[in-house]
Symmetry: C2
Subunit: 227 residues, 2 copies
């Protein structure tokens, strides 16, 4: 039987937020096309996490697109010469990857056009957002406008919608939403600097937000920590 649900493209990193976003997109009754980028990130183990999450949540398709942006340098997530900070920092952190969401959303948009999808999902968050400029609501609205101006579908009067269901949730709310939908957070990886076995450092921004979230949500934290 053909699946006649509308299609949505969902950015999936293998982390907690994007896994929850995929679960929410499925719950919104979309047939979900998950898109993961192999962009020269330090911790390739997150690609394996993304595959497990897409499969478990029943994505209609999952693509891992190789796009090396590490040649640009400029971020602790792709440039081994920049250390990942282990204490909170002010302003935009060194883990910011220049224009990353713009690049990822652009490719998601291209795939959506080909699929005939008008809905994109991204797990951006303005509460625990770590100061990334391309996670803000005003940025998301600007991308939506760009999508409608720069595509065949947009010119023909179809409207793209960029869904950011996590935007105003705190980490505990995200975890509660995902837990309600049966997300197995043991499959996800959030750490900026996991070891080869996928165990989290427990001290980077991302680990701290995650651990605080499980505690605040009253949900047992399934994260394997290395210390």
């Amino acid at each position: 039987m053909a699946d006649d649900k509308p299609k949505a493209v969902v950015l999936l990193s293998g982390g907690l937020d994007s896994a929850t976003t995929l679960a929410l997109a499925c719950d919104d009754n979309f047939s979900c096309y998950a898109l993961t980028f192999d962009y020269g990130q330090r911790h390739r183990i997150e690609l394996e996490a993304a595959k497990r999450v897409a499969q478990r949540l029943g994505a209609a398709d999952h693509r891992v697109v190789k796009l090396d942006i590490s040649w640009m340098g400029g971020s602790a997530l792709t440039d081994k010469s920049i250390a990942v900070p282990t204490t909170p920092t002010e302003g935009i952190p060194v883990t910011y990857v220049p224009a990353r969401n713009t690049v990822f959303l652009s490719i998601a948009l291209g795939w959506a056009e080909v699929l005939g999808a008008h809905d994109l999902y991204i797990g951006a968050n303005a509460v625990d957002y770590s100061g990334y400029p391309d996670c803000r609501p005003e940025y998301m609205r600007a991308f939506e406008q760009l999508a409608n101006l720069g595509t065949r579908a947009g010119v023909l009067g179809e409207r793209f919608r960029l869904h950011t269901p996590l935007m105003h949730m705190c980490k505990a709310e995200i975890i509660r939403a995902g837990a309600r939908l049966g997300v197995d957070y043991g499959l996800t990886i959030s750490c900026y600097d996991p070891d080869d076995a996928g165990r989290a450092c427990g001290v980077c921004d991302s680990c701290r937000f995650r651990a605080q979230g499980f505690a605040a949500a009253g949900v047992p934290d399934p994260t394997p920590y290395r210390c």
Copy 2:
């Protein structure tokens, strides 16, 4: 001696328009960082053309970024199952590559951030533009707005400028501008369907606009045609 000119990132395809754009950016006194995409296009010979053009025009750096978007399908330029049309078509043609300029400009933006550049150049054209939605002025303004919202530099109050010097030029004006700046158009390839020796088909949209442009500009056409 260090080059203290401001930097600009220039999208360079190896075609006539982008070669002219690079020459104009150099003439605007920018130190030019040329960016070419190896995106699974049918005619890889254009990558060689881009290298020759960047070298001849004195780009400070030239990167060829491998980004396979042909898995998406949906365009005659990347999908061998879709024929390149040889007669004029109405509306948005099958050579449109979904969200291509958005993808390319996003990566250019990331590189610009890392370089400390605030200027991007793209050879988009609204006159002979073949009906591509992502070549229109309103699209370019939307991208500029996105760039200023989605980057560290933008948040810190620096403004990105997206230069489209060819936007309102007809093909003859483009050719005259490039010829004045010494662009060797014999190095460039515009054809959507060249043969292995780099000879142009002479009948696709791009070939026809180019040939008409040389004729109207009164500049000898150095293009090698196969028939």
